[in-house]
């Protein structure tokens, strides 16, 4: 079956064009009822809201990553749609976090790390000389595994990005951004009366939502999440997952997760990585109910190893 938004890893489909928007047919982008019917023929059940909603935001072509002499990622080609949650799954060390970090060039901060291939965001090569990683990261926010609020107040944590990027001209404007970001992150009601107490004093789940608020305060287009719930308890996890689902309306979200259940719950698209290679990708329901690859099946059913 042809997948509308993903190229197969070897890049056979779609020809050699580097521009992801060029070869897109709008009728395929929004699956027509017939298309859904075809899918329904193979997949037991497709929940309606999980169908991909946007055009391709990020297109990776033959991306390889090296740490020194060691290759961590092999020729990954993948299209990531906008206004959609895309989940990366796979065993530890499979390269999913490495791939995630290529998308905001966080790998630049690691010495001896080298990235080859092309990553296009809205058709623009983010590794081009003309692209300033600092500005790129303002567009591509990131949330990490462990909540990492700065040792500052809640207010200052959220105001950090707007301040360094000079997004506001007045205190009132900054207050507005802080408030709306905290509201979007679903934290406002809990912290409205203690904005000026330390962010590190919040609970783990609240800290993670604070960090999400911090990331969305600079109005990014993409939010990368690297196992955002792995340090949280189930209740806090559920809140973050709800939040991710809400944020999907505005942002392109990519999430790395070790929890298959989480990938199934929050994502519409799933990509499975193994040993530094992209094994399979597609609609989440499809990956979880009817994977094409034996390895994917083994992994999602817990028979891996």
């Amino acid at each position: 079956m042809k997948l509308p938004f993903f190229r197969s890893p070897d890049g056979r489909e779609g020809g050699g064009s580097a521009d992801p928007t060029e070869r897109r047919d709008e009728s395929v982008l929004t699956p027509a009822p017939e298309a859904a019917g075809v899918m329904a023929g193979r997949v037991p059940e497709v929940k309606s809201p999980s169908a991909p909603a946007g055009p391709t935001k990020i297109a990776a072509r033959d991306v390889s990553v090296f740490y020194g002499d060691k290759q961590a990622l092999y020729d990954v080609s993948l299209d990531i749609p906008d206004k959609t949650v895309t989940a990366f799954i796979g065993p530890s060390g499979c390269g999913k976090s490495t791939f995630l970090r290529t998308m905001n060039r966080m790998n630049d901060t690691i010495q001896g790390c080298r990235v080859t291939g092309k990553i296009l965001m809205d058709g623009q090569d983010i590794n081009a000389r003309s692209v300033d990683p600092v500005l790129l990261r303002a567009q591509v926010g990131m949330v990490f595994q462990k909540p990492n609020p700065f040792p500052k107040t809640i207010y200052e944590n959220v105001a950090y990005g707007p301040r360094i990027h000079g997004l506001t001209t007045s205190k009132a404007e900054l207050d507005g951004i802080v408030e709306s970001s905290l509201k979007k992150a679903g934290l406002w009601d809990e912290v409205a009366d203690r904005l000026h107490s330390p962010g590190t004093g919040l609970s783990g789940g609240q800290q993670q939502r604070l960090v999400i608020a911090r990331a969305i305060a600079v109005n990014p287009e993409v939010i990368l999440m690297d196992e955002p719930c792995s340090a949280l308890d189930p209740i806090a996890t559920a809140r973050i997952e709800e939040l991710i689902d809400e944020l999907r309306e505005r942002y392109c979200i990519v999430i790395v997760t070790h929890s298959m259940a989480q990938a199934a719950r929050v994502s519409q698209r799933t990509a499975f990585f193994h040993m530094g290679r992209l094994v399979e990708h597609g609609n989440t329901e499809e990956i979880f109910t009817n994977p094409r690859e034996r390895r994917t099946l083994d992994y999602i059913t817990g028979r891996f190893g």
């Binding site: 901060t109 990261r137 700065f150 950090y160 360094i164 911090r214």
Partner: protein, 480 residues
């Protein structure tokens, strides 16, 4: 001779280990089904080893410490009447010579007549006595080892909690080692306190702490004129703090910035070069910094200021020019600046550790927000590391206050109460050195003043260190 026991004890200990292990293995093997020895055979071996080695070593040390005095007392107890009649000081000398002669060495003095004969007999007695005591010590050590071994042998059985016993002994040994350092410090404090008390009996505390005159000359003879002595320590502490502040003005920014460079900006290659070089700088003996200050920096500064003064003389700043032309080699600025250079590696390596201790996740968080390196350093790393850096700076201050060699060579001796960095000042440590070098009598306030100064200095640096440690600790708790 006594020390030959030590290899012997070592051999015994190894044998005891092997025997203990063997015995434990055999006794464990004899257990009936289902039962299990509490500890492993090796632990029984160590248990036996400890019981052999520790009593033997204790006996050996006791013998080493007490055999000399014991021999002396035995000799003195039934010495000939002619020796007994000697005055105590001469008698000690006699017995000392008797011991030396007995050991086949040359006596210090020539003892003639009756004493000469006595010396020969006493030397022979001394030699016999020492030999007896030595062998007695060795035998006692062997006996102690055997007794200990027998005790261990009687104890070894499958239910013996040898593992816990051995752990207990190891804990005790480690405690003893740390106690040495603590007890020494306590001893130093008490000796300081004792002599300071004697000083403060001669000079009132208030005069010492608040007096502004320092001139520790005291009349040696009652009829001497013009040397009444003044012990006001304020000029010394003022000089100390002036030099410390100059040193910190140099060391704090340079050290901190180099730490930031090393931890955040440097590539692996330049870090690999700069860090070892800084560590070499930290290893330069302070006396080398001292003559660098006295012979290179001092004259250079003097020439600079004298030249500047020469240009100003006759102009609108004539007075200042006159002053600058008279500036000497020894000035607070030179000592402070060189001391600051000495402190740079200290500050930078401490701050480097502290900045590195800030979790990587905070850096990632900041970079992921699109912050540049300097923004990350300024807005995230430094605020997070600030308490630790403050602690490091306080430690550097307490080193600057206690530093002696550089100021001795570069600061001068005149106790001027001034804040002018171009003036000659003196510091507490310099005065202590001056008071305690050369001949001195230990009951005059002049000498005892050194202890008063030492105690005050000790309290000041102690306070600084406690504050610094507190700050660093609170900081550490934040992230662990």
């Amino acid at each position: 001779m006594t020390w030959l026991v030590i290899p012997l004890v070592a051999v015994f200990a190894v044998l005891a280990y092997l025997a203990g292990r063997g015995v434990a293995q055999r006794r464990a093997a004899a257990l009936h089904g289902g039962q299990k020895a509490h500890s492993r055979p090796e632990q029984h071996g160590y248990y036996a080893m400890i019981w052999v080695a520790v009593p033997a070593l204790v006996v050996t040390i006791l013998a080493g410490v007490f055999s000399g005095p014991l021999a002396h007392n035995l000799l003195a107890a039934d010495a000939p009447a002619s020796v007994q009649a000697l005055e105590p000081f001469r008698r000690e000398a006699f017995f000392n010579d008797a011991r030396l002669t007995g050991e086949g060495q040359r006596a210090f003095q020539v003892w003639s007549g009756e004493l000469g004969e006595a010396l020969t007999t006493e030397a022979a007695r001394s030699a016999r006595l020492h030999q007896t005591l030595t062998w007695g010590g060795v035998l006692a050590a062997i006996l102690a080892a055997v007794m200990g071994g027998l005790f261990a042998w009687s104890q070894i059985r499958p239910t013996l909690r040898a593992r816990n016993r051995v752990e207990g002994w190891i804990g005790g040994l480690l405690f003893a080692c740390s106690a040495v350092a603590i007890l020494t410090t306590v001893g130093i404090v008490f000796s300081l306190l004792w002599d300071s008390l004697r000083f403060f009996q001669a000079v009132p505390v208030t005069e010492f702490l608040f007096g502004t005159q320092w001139s520790p000359q005291i009349a040696i003879r009652a009829d001497q004129v013009g040397s009444s002595g003044a012990f006001g320590a304020v000029p010394l502490f003022a000089g100390t703090f002036l030099i410390m502040i100059i040193a910190m003005i140099v060391a704090a920014p340079v050290g901190l910035f180099s730490a930031i460079y090393l931890s955040e900006y440097a590539s692996a290659l330049s870090r690999g070069i700069v860090k070892p070089v800084l560590e070499i700088l930290a290893g330069v003996p302070t006396v080398v910094y001292g003559f660098f200050a006295a012979l290179t920096v001092g004259p250079a500064f003097r020439e600079f200021f004298n030249g500047l003064g020469a240009m100003l003389v006759g102009g609108p700043l004539d007075g200042m020019g006159q002053y600058l032309m008279l500036v000497q080699n020894q000035m607070a600025l030179v000592a402070g600046a060189v001391m600051g250079i000495m402190l740079i590696p200290f500050v930078s390596s401490l701050s480097d550790d502290i900045i590195n201790a800030v979790p990587q996740s905070l850096r990632d968080g900041s970079y992921a927000m699109g912050a540049t390196k300097s923004e990350t350093v300024k807005r995230v790393l430094l605020p997070a590391a600030l308490p630790g850096i403050a602690g490091a700076l306080l430690l550097a201050m307490s080193r600057a206050i206690g530093e002696t060699m550089i100021v001795t060579m570069a600061a001068g001796l005149a106790a001027n109460l001034t804040l002018n960095p171009l003036d000659t000042v003196t510091t507490v440590t310099v005065q202590i050195v001056t008071l305690l070098t050369g001949d001195q009598e230990f009951d005059s306030p002049k000498t005892l003043a050194a202890f008063g100064l030492g105690l005050t200095l000790f309290l000041v640096t102690l306070l600084l260190n406690i504050v610094a440690q507190r700050i660093v600790q609170t900081y550490r708790e934040q992230y662990d």
